[in-house]
């Protein structure tokens, strides 16, 4: 979106958050002279008068005349996010109206607000729906308006886009009856498509409409805003106000917001947007085009908006005022724009609307308005906005945009560029820059209520943080596949120009929530699945039946294949097979085929898999208690081996081995009275010492196994052996599986660097001096090729290795992890493992790891339609050629990221198809083929591309790419490359989709407005920029861990969730706050979830009651920082908190250990490490600083 960068931000924020912004700015300012300067200037200006001004601005905004205000408002809207923070406090009180305001706030990012927002918004919406919608609309509208204002003039298209986008986003579907009116008008043209799309547009439009109203509100807003401003949070408030102007709550909220966040630009933007909104609406009329532009709108608008606002503000106001005119302008432009768009869209001509609708749908998706609307008409409005927000537009633009742009332009405004040093000196107001919290919150509010249906091409699914239901209508659920872009550029040139990666993050065996149906199993009989004769694609909804159903044409390669007689079916009048909806493979995005013997190794049906447990019994392992815990746990855990039929016993067989520098195999044959140990000390040439009795059924040999597990800890209790081997351990497992002629999984519980004389022996090569040098990469590479070769053999046999590490010192994870990573396994690491404190974490991980559904001996192949090709793969697997991803094991948590590149032109008519087929052996030994199909749109306009991206997925891809690159490239180069690529992406957008604004503005696409903050988190991650206390092992571990994370995991990994623990009543969660120390209140308690850890941060001045509720003691000093679980207290707060913690844990594939961190305790350093918006001790930039840096990069590129 358009993020008005610092300046704007600052200014808006600044003003709004004199307090907040300024302080923060100050520092920032220093950092970002140029832009900031201006910003600051404005900001300063704002700030000083901020509140008042802000108000006035709002007023002005509304009036348009009050450019400044708008700006501030804008900023505020942007700030709103931040404001939300405040809102949170205030929000609730504020009530729904606030929600809107919150939206803006949300945009603003304030953490707290989100809470409220989430809470409030929904509620609000319903009630205030319209207002919200307005607000939202406004926001959205504002965007447009902003866009107009900001970019309006220049970026006709954008504006239009924005407008449209805004409209769409904002009002499209939803309410905005008023606005709709317009829409309708617009819709009409659109026609049916419109109807569908229309709604979206409407929703968006509505906002606009609302915006229109909002505009009025704005006016009011001004007032309101002022009040808001008055409120400390003003910025946010303002935004809200601006957005919500209408809603009084806003006002109230604004105060709240105000204080908390500096309402920031966002609000401003909103306000402005409001104005724009109206214009937007107008554009809507043009709607058709707008839609097209929508994306851009969403993206650009915000930015532009914000930016605009700023610019507009100072002088802007006029613009603003003009905005109308501009709007008109835009509109006209938009109209013209439309054409252009049309051109773009036109291809789709008809499609445009659809596309529009789709886009909207994507955003709105849910539906399109319908869904949303139905539920909460009012909400819709809100949603739209949110959607916009989601799109990024509203929020993005506002917050981010507002921030930067506005500040620059508006507050800084005047000065963004020029921006006067003064502002520059001041820092950007953190609240004014795009807030992840707000984006998340908006998406959640907008999209969680309606199921996401996959039938429409090109629509981006809800964010991973949003809880939503999926209905498979022909495309794979986002739980299986998420794409970076749902509108792929038609040509390689476009792709290259935009630099947006084209990738899909595929989680083939993902677990679905209980209310979604797992893929159906299809049996095509002895002939096996029906496939295209040429490209071998499997039967899917993209196959076109012709000649009365006698043949079908492949959607991927266009080859025509005969339909086998047993599969023949007549076609109906539309050319569809009559049985289309009876057959999952013709109507669903995901399903499974039963594979025939042709799909089996050696043409032999597979045996059920086996699990083999390898327990290190060297001194360290025994002493740490690991051996004892594992043995105890296995006794019960073995009853929970994976099975497909819950009624039956698992057919998975188990085997046991203990080892130090020799291996002890156990014969646990059921006929034995006692297990027999077989020691293999010839580790140089590993072999399996026994066959019969090694792999057994748990039920058959239960007594023997229990006896064994009882005796293992005793047998080795007094061991003095400290050396271990590792290579032979895996070789042994491999041999065992070979001998049993089955696939399987090895669970290796290992403690030390394997220095005993054996193949795969390692030496300690930890050399911290290499960190930061060009030789650093060697530390991530395995020590020798031994394990790579071994993993090849493992993969060939279907031997998956899961490694549980319990190191007390360097164990060379980079090398030990090679086999797990290549075989689709996992590495778990419990450094300084202690039985008392780490037991739960380890056991939960182990339990999950043992029980989770998985496939064995898998091969994954991604087929694509002509024009693109899967060229690169990331994840835990092995590839022996360029197309087949071989996975010895594939569990429900494993993700494979696939990058696509053009090898030809794509057509907008057909879009791009991909089919991911995974051939695997189920845990019951059945050979299956899971097929996921995904169709995305293709676009000839960059704007479409930018409008349908998913930043979280892009970050997932980027981080995987970067983490892999450090194997071969100096880390610094990798970091620079990433920054550069992102700058190019944004610059391309700026240049092609948002050009109208002044160079001083940072304009971010709505969908990517969080790209900078997330990218910064990636760059600051321990792998790419280690702190002094991060060991090489940790880095290698995290590096490997990331390689198979899905989007949801990578999201929280890079941007942890920070929850303020206030009022936990009710079923919903408090709204998160941004990851910054300044968001923490000394009097509060916060829960931080990183995906790997949970921290409970206790402020030094936390209320006694709070402490009592949580810890059972009112005294801060009596809290035991070593506790790993909270006491079970009989009060609702404690219960709810523990519920929350449990639910968090249940959502993650790894158990998160709880650490209690007391403020100013030394452990706080660790905690602070995860406050990723702050400067890190290792030199990582703060969000604000980084955003400025990005802006600079972009400007360089543009110049």
């Amino acid at each position: 979106m358009n993020v008005n960068q610092q300046t704007p931000m600052a200014s808006p924020y600044g003003p709004p958050q004199p307090g907040y912004g300024q302080p923060s700015y100050a520092p920032l300012g220093g950092g970002y002279p140029g832009p900031y300067g201006p910003y600051n200037g404005p900001a300063a200006a704002y700030q000083p008068g901020a509140p008042p001004q802000g108000y006035s601005p709002y007023a002005s905004f509304p009036s348009k005349a009050v450019a400044a205000n708008p700006v501030s408002d804008l900023s505020s809207p942007l700030d709103l996010g931040p404001a939300r923070g405040p809102l949170t406090s205030a929000p609730r009180p504020v009530s729904t109206p606030q929600a809107y305001s919150q939206y803006p706030q949300g945009d603003s990012q304030n953490g707290p607000p989100p809470m409220d927002h989430s809470m409030a918004q929904p509620a609000h919406r319903s009630p205030v729906s319209q207002p919200y919608s307005h607000g939202a609309m406004n926001l959205s509208g504002p965007h447009p308006s902003y866009s107009q204002q900001y970019g309006a003039p220049p970026p006709m298209q954008q504006v239009t886009n924005q407008m449209s986008g805004m409209q769409i986003g904002s009002g499209p579907p939803t309410s905005v009856g008023p606005g709709y009116a317009h829409h309708p008008s617009s819709q009409p043209p659109i026609s049916a498509a419109y109807s569908s799309a229309a709604p979206p547009s409407y929703t968006q439009a509505p906002p606009p409409l609302s915006a229109a109203p909002s505009q009025p509100p704005p006016p009011s807003e001004p007032a309101a805003s002022q009040p808001y401003y008055g409120g400390p949070p003003p910025p946010q408030q303002q935004p809200f106000p601006s957005a919500h102007h209408p809603s009084q709550p806003f006002v109230s909220s604004s105060p709240y917001l105000g204080p908390p966040s500096q309402p920031q630009a966002p609000p401003v933007s909103q306000q402005q947007s409001f104005p724009p909104g109206p214009p937007a609406q107008q554009p809507f009329p043009n709607s058709a085009p707008p839609p097209v532009s929508q994306a851009s709108y969403s993206g650009p608008p915000p930015l532009t908006q914000h930016s605009f606002p700023p610019s507009s503000q100072s002088g802007p106001f006029p613009p603003i005022s003009i905005s109308p005119s501009q709007y008109p302008g835009p509109q006209p432009q938009s109209q013209p724009g439309p054409p252009p768009f049309h051109s773009g869209p036109s291809p789709r001509g008809p499609i445009p609307p659809p596309s529009m609708s789709q886009q909207q749908a994507n955003h709105l998706p849910p539906g399109p308005m319908q869904q949303q609307q139905p539920p909460q008409p009012g909400m819709q409005g809100g949603y739209p906005t949110q959607q916009n927000g989601a799109f990024g537009q509203p929020r993005g633009p506002q917050p981010g945009y507002a921030g930067p742009h506005y500040p620059g332009q508006q507050n800084y405004g005047a000065g963004p560029a020029p921006a006067p040093a003064p502002p520059a000196q001041k820092r950007l107001d953190p609240d004014s820059i795009p807030s992840p919290i707000q984006v998340i919150e908006d998406d959640r509010v907008n999209k969680s209520s309606e199921p996401f249906t996959t039938g429409v091409k090109g629509q981006a699914p809800p964010l991973v943080t949003t809880n939503f239901q999926v209905k498979d209508q022909g495309n794979a659920s986002p739980r299986f596949i998420r794409c970076t872009a749902y509108n792929m550029p038609c040509t390689a040139d476009m792709a290259k120009q935009s630099q947006v990666p084209l990738a899909a993050v595929i989680k083939p065996l993902a677990m679905l929530p209980p209310d979604e149906t797992p893929p159906y199993i299809v049996d095509h009989g002895d002939g096996g699945p029906i496939r295209c004769n040429r490209c071998k694609a499997y039967m899917c909804p993209y196959m076109q039946f012709i000649e009365g159903g006698r043949r079908f044409q492949c959607g991927f390669c266009s080859c025509v294949t005969e339909v086998p007689p047993h599969y023949f079916q007549h076609l109906d009048h539309t050319g569809k097979r009559v049985d289309c909806y009876d057959r999952p493979e013709l109507s669903q995005g995901s399903y499974e085929f039963v594979a025939t013997v042709d799909y089996c190794k050696n043409n032999k049906l597979p045996q059920p898999p086996s699990f083999i447990f390898f327990i290190d019994v060297s001194y360290n392992a025994v002493k740490s208690g690991m051996v004892n815990i594992v043995c105890q746990e296995l006794k019960t855990l073995l009853d929970y081996l994976p099975r497909e039929n819950p009624e039956a016993d698992s057919v998975v067989r188990v085997g046991f081995v203990t080892y130090n520098k020799v291996l002890h195999f156990y014969n646990v044959k059921s006929s034995l009275a006692q297990p027999q140990m077989m020691v293999v000390s010839d580790v140089s040439d590993m072999f399996l010492p026994l066959l019969d009795g090694f792999l057994v059924g748990v039920n058959d040999s239960r007594m023997v196994i229990e006896s064994l597990l009882d005796q293992i800890p005793e047998m080795f209790a007094d061991t003095r052996e400290t050396e271990t081997v590792f290579g032979p351990v895996i070789q042994a497992g491999l041999e065992a599986l070979k001998a049993a002629d089955c696939a399987g999984k090895l669970f290796v519980f290992h403690s030390t660097l394997p220095i005993a004389e054996a193949p795969g022996k390692l030496k300690n090569r930890e050399d911290k001096k290499l960190v930061g040098t060009d030789k650093e990469k060697s530390l991530f590479q395995p020590q020798s090729g031994f394990y790579s070769n071994l993993s090849k053999e493992c993969v060939a046999q279907g031997c998956c290795v899961d490694l549980f590490l319990f190191p007390n010192q360097y164990v060379d994870v980079a090398t030990l992890g090679v086999v797990p990573v290549s075989t689709g396994g996992s590495v778990y690491k419990y450094t300084y493992f202690q039985a008392e404190t780490d037991r739960e974490r380890f056991l939960n991980d182990l339990r999950r790891d043992v029980q989770k559904p998985m496939g064995f001996d898998a091969v994954m192949r991604v087929r694509t339609s002509t024009g693109i090709r899967a060229t690169d793969f990331f994840g835990s697997f092995f590839m022996s050629n360029t197309t087949d991803v071989e996975l010895a094991g594939l569990d429900c948590d494993k993700t494979v990221t696939v990058e696509f590149r053009h090898d030809d032109k794509l057509s907008e008519d057909t879009g791009a198809l991909m089919q991911c087929a995974v051939l695997y052996t189920s845990c019951s030994g059945q050979r299956r083929l899971r097929v996921h199909n995904m169709a995305v749109n293709c676009c000839s306009q960059l704007a479409d591309l930018y409008r349908n991206c998913e930043t979280d997925t892009i970050i997932n891809f980027f981080s995987k790419y970067a983490y892999r690159s450090i194997l071969n490239t100096p880390t610094k180069t990798v970091r620079d490359t990433m920054v550069n690529q992102c700058a190019q992406i944004l610059a391309c957008y700026r240049k092609n989709c948002a050009s109208p604004s002044s160079a001083g503005q940072l304009i971010l696409p709505e969908c990517m407005k969080l790209l900078p903050v997330y990218l910064n988190c990636v760059l600051k991650s321990d792998v790419l920029q280690p702190g002094a206390d991060i060991s090489l092992d940790d880095r290698a571990y995290l590096r490997q861990l990331l390689s198979c994370m899905d989007v949801s995991e990578s999201h929280i990994f890079f941007y942890p969730r920070l929850l303020p623990l206030v009022k936990l009543d009710g079923g919903s969660l408090p709204m998160a706050v941004r990851n910054s120390e300044e968001r923490l209140s000394k009097g509060g308690v916060y829960l931080l979830e990183t995906g790997l850890h949970l921290f409970l941060w206790v402020g030094a001045n936390a209320q006694q009651e709070l402490l009592s509720n949580i810890f059972g003691t009112p005294t801060f000093s009596q809290i035991d920082p070593n506790m790993t679980s909270l006491p079970e207290l009989d009060n609702p707060f404690s219960q709810r908190l523990r519920e929350i913690i449990d639910s968090f844990r249940s959502q993650r594939s790894r158990y998160m250990k709880l650490m209690v961190v007391k403020q100013e305790d030394k452990a706080e350093l660790i905690f602070k490490h995860f406050l990723c918006e702050d400067k890190s001790t290792s030199g990582g930039a703060s969000y604000v600083d980084f955003l400025c840096h990005m802006h600079k990069e972009i400007r360089q590129l543009l110049s």
């Binding site: 006692q674 027999q676 140990m677 000390s681 010492p689 005796q711």
Partner: protein
């Protein structure tokens, strides 16, 4: 003085020594002319229950190169308390403990009847007896079951303090840790690899100190040395019995058309290595039980493809036995390692096909181990033979002895050419060692790791006097055999036999006949014998005393009939008559043959009728005699009961002199013997030819 033949018999009875010539060729030339070398058969541990236990150590000649033991042939000056060595003529002082010596108070070793005497060395610790079972598990369940029972039975025959160990093998090799509580443990090795002792030691976690203790440990003889793999029977009796009981057939699948993978070579290597690093120079028995040939790893003698049969003599002659050389080399190396450390390797091979005895023979031959060949572990041949290994003498001690060395001292007139028998050279050079080697030569000392009361070596001598300086008439060449060994009680003992030659007497009358049969025997003739069988026969032949050896060369044939008491008859086809029952003893086989008429009577069941009780007795007589032999011989012979026309009668027909064949039977005509369908020459033809050669000047 008894007659000369009596003297010889007494000599053999008392000293276990029998010479090929009991006269002294006076010079090298004369000796050469005698053709048959001067040699002696020596049974070092000839059973002598009458020997007094001498609880002190022998008195040795002080000359460093001599060190002969004081014996009845020495001249003693009782007054001066001096004695003259009869080998080197060194005059020696008696040690202080002999201060009371006089012509009426002589120590036993000076008494003429104690030309053989045994000293019990009191120094040093009591050495443990070590029995290491190496058991093949690649066999039919029935065989394995029988084997397990035999092994369990054997435990009860061991002295409680004996250390036992267990190694089982199939595709893998398992060294079982004994005395574990709860989980039984074993160390497993793959059978395709040869490990040296050091590697093995590390892999088994046996640290050096253990071995060192084994060497020192004089203070604690009561606490026998042991380790996790070799433990006293009394301690792990139950455990080991259970362990044996749980032994399963090798679980690795054997696909159609394949032999099971049997890691025999590696298993033996590990057994040798285990003892090598834990009990060097201590008596120990590695008892290997195999049900088939080694099919993988070092020492393999045949591949696992059934379509490729194990090598035959034919293959060997054609140089078509691709595993033989390598296998033989492996086992030779093992034999060398084992014998160096005084360890015995026994091989009990029970299979219908060959098991690779040809390659493995050195293991038994060089270490004094037993080699037993049978068709199955279920046969009494195996069971009783194995049981007989543990027979005890009147004092309750095993008849087997361990870690022996045989040292031979000769007077100046003769030198030692070498020895043939279950021994290896200790490379002790000396003045009495000849440069001409016969058998294992170049030394005056041999190591005999395992020996029992029957173990007999042939020692060859050479007369060194030149023709122009003959041994004076009346000179008495003397030979002293000094055998040091570890008695089964753990004591170290030294047996000394001193003997000398007298004047001539000899009868050559039987030589041609023996030669005839020797040529036909499996020792020279491989036709119809597998390489394994040949190896087995030769192995036994090399270690038996004169009587047994002669039986092997020319089997004994007894006839039972109503015509009179049982009588020995000629080993000739003419002895096969319808109304006779024949009992043939070839050492390896005891065969009872019922003549045609007798056979018919028996089928008619006359023996059941009271009035034909004499017939029943006639039938029973050879059976009783056979039983007697069966019970006394080691290894137990194969017992065959057959009749005229029976398929197993071929064993008899192949041994008798084919005086009547399909070619000449009508010419002979008179007596109705049994014609042999063979083209072999008969003794008559052989003698005729011999006579011709003897008078021919061309010879």
């Amino acid at each position: 003085m008894a007659t000369f033949p009596e003297f010889i018999a007494q000599n053999e009875e008392r000293d276990g020594v029998r010479f090929s010539w009991n006269v002294w060729p006076s010079s090298r030339l004369e000796a050469t002319r005698m053709v048959v070398p001067v040699a002696s058969l020596i049974t070092p541990l000839k059973e002598r229950p009458d020997l007094p236990p001498i609880q002190y150590e022998p008195v040795l000649c002080s000359r460093v190169t001599c060190r002969a033991v004081l014996n009845p042939l020495c001249q003693v000056d009782y007054r001066a308390k001096l004695w003259a060595c009869n080998f080197c003529y060194q005059r020696n002082q008696f040690p202080p403990t002999y201060a009371g010596i006089s012509d009426v108070n002589q120590p036993a070793e000076l008494l003429p009847q104690f030309s053989t005497i045994e000293y019990v060395v009191q120094r040093g610790p009591l050495m443990p007896l070590v029995f290491l079972y190496v058991v093949d598990t690649c066999m039919e369940d029935e065989d394995l079951q029988a084997l397990k029972e035999s092994l369990q039975m054997s435990l009860s025959l061991l002295p409680p303090t004996a250390l036992v160990g267990l190694i089982t093998f199939g595709r893998m090799i398992q060294v079982h840790e004994l005395g574990c509580e709860g989980i039984s443990k074993s160390y497993v090795f793959r059978g395709t690899k040869d490990l040296n002792a050091k590697q093995l030691q590390e892999m088994l976690g046996l640290t050096k100190p253990t071995a060192a203790q084994a060497g020192r440990g004089p203070q604690a003889p009561q606490a026998p040395l042991s380790n996790r793999f070799l433990q006293p029977v009394q301690k792990i009796d139950m455990n080991l019995t259970d362990l044996l009981g749980e032994l399963q057939r090798d679980p690795w699948p054997v696909t159609q058309g394949k032999r099971p993978l049997r890691s025999l070579g590696s298993a033996m290597s590990i057994a040798v290595g285990l003892l090598e690093c834990t009990f060097p120079n201590t008596g120990a028995r590695i008892m290997t039980f195999i049900g088939g040939p080694a099919t993988q790893g070092p020492g393999m003698v045949v591949g696992d493809e059934l379509k490729a049969p194990i090598r035959s003599w034919h293959d060997i002659e054609k140089d078509n036995a691709k595993f033989m050389k390598k296998g033989t080399k492996h086992y030779e190396a093992l034999a060398s390692r084992a014998s160096t450390n005084g360890h015995i390797i026994d091989i009990y091979a029970c299979a219908l096909d060959q098991t690779g005895l040809l390659e493995m023979k050195c293991c038994s031959n060089h270490t004094g181990g037993y080699m037993v060949m049978a068709d199955s572990f279920t046969t009494s041949l195996f069971k009783q033979t194995f049981q007989r290994v543990f027979t005890k003498d009147v004092s309750g001690a095993f008849k087997m002895a361990f870690a022996g060395t045989l040292e031979i001292k000769t007077s100046r007139e003769i030198k030692i050419s070498g020895a043939i028998g279950p021994c290896v050279s200790l490379n002790a050079k000396g003045p009495c060692v000849s440069e001409n080697e016969i058998g294992t030569g170049g030394t005056s000392q041999w190591k005999i790791c395992g020996l029992d009361h029957n173990t007999t070596l042939a020692v060859y001598f050479e007369v060194v006097n030149q023709h122009n300086a003959p041994i004076p008439q009346g000179g008495r060449g003397a030979v002293q055999y000094v055998t040091q060994y570890q008695h089964s009680s753990g004591q170290k003992r030294i047996r000394v036999t001193t003997t000398y030659f007298l004047k001539a007497h000899y009868s050559f009358s039987f030589v041609p006949q023996f030669m005839f049969h020797l040529r036909r025997s499996p020792f020279l003739q491989v036709f119809n014998n597998s390489p394994d069988e040949s190896s087995y026969y030769r192995h036994q032949f090399m270690r038996q005393d004169l009587t047994q050896s002669l039986i092997m060369i020319q089997p004994i044939l007894y006839a039972y009939s109503f015509n009179g008491p049982p009588e020995p008859v000629l080993l000739d086809s003419s002895s096969i008559l319808p109304d006779r029952i024949l009992l043939m003893d070839t050492f390896f086989q005891i065969l009872i043959y019922h003549g045609e008429t007798v056979s018919q009577w028996r089928k008619a069941g006359y023996q059941e009728l009271p009035e034909y009780e004499n017939f029943r007795h006639l039938l029973q007589a050879p059976v009783d005699d056979a039983q007697e032999i069966l019970h006394s011989r080691f290894p137990m012979p194969r017992y065959i009961d057959t009749e005229h026309g029976g398929s197993q009668a071929r064993f008899l027909l192949s041994k008798v002199n084919p005086s009547q064949t399909h070619n000449n039977m009508y010419a002979w005509g008179q007596e109705s013997g049994a014609p042999i369908l063979t083209d072999d020459v008969s003794l008559q033809v052989f003698m005729d030819h011999l006579k011709k050669l003897a008078v021919s000047s061309a010879a």
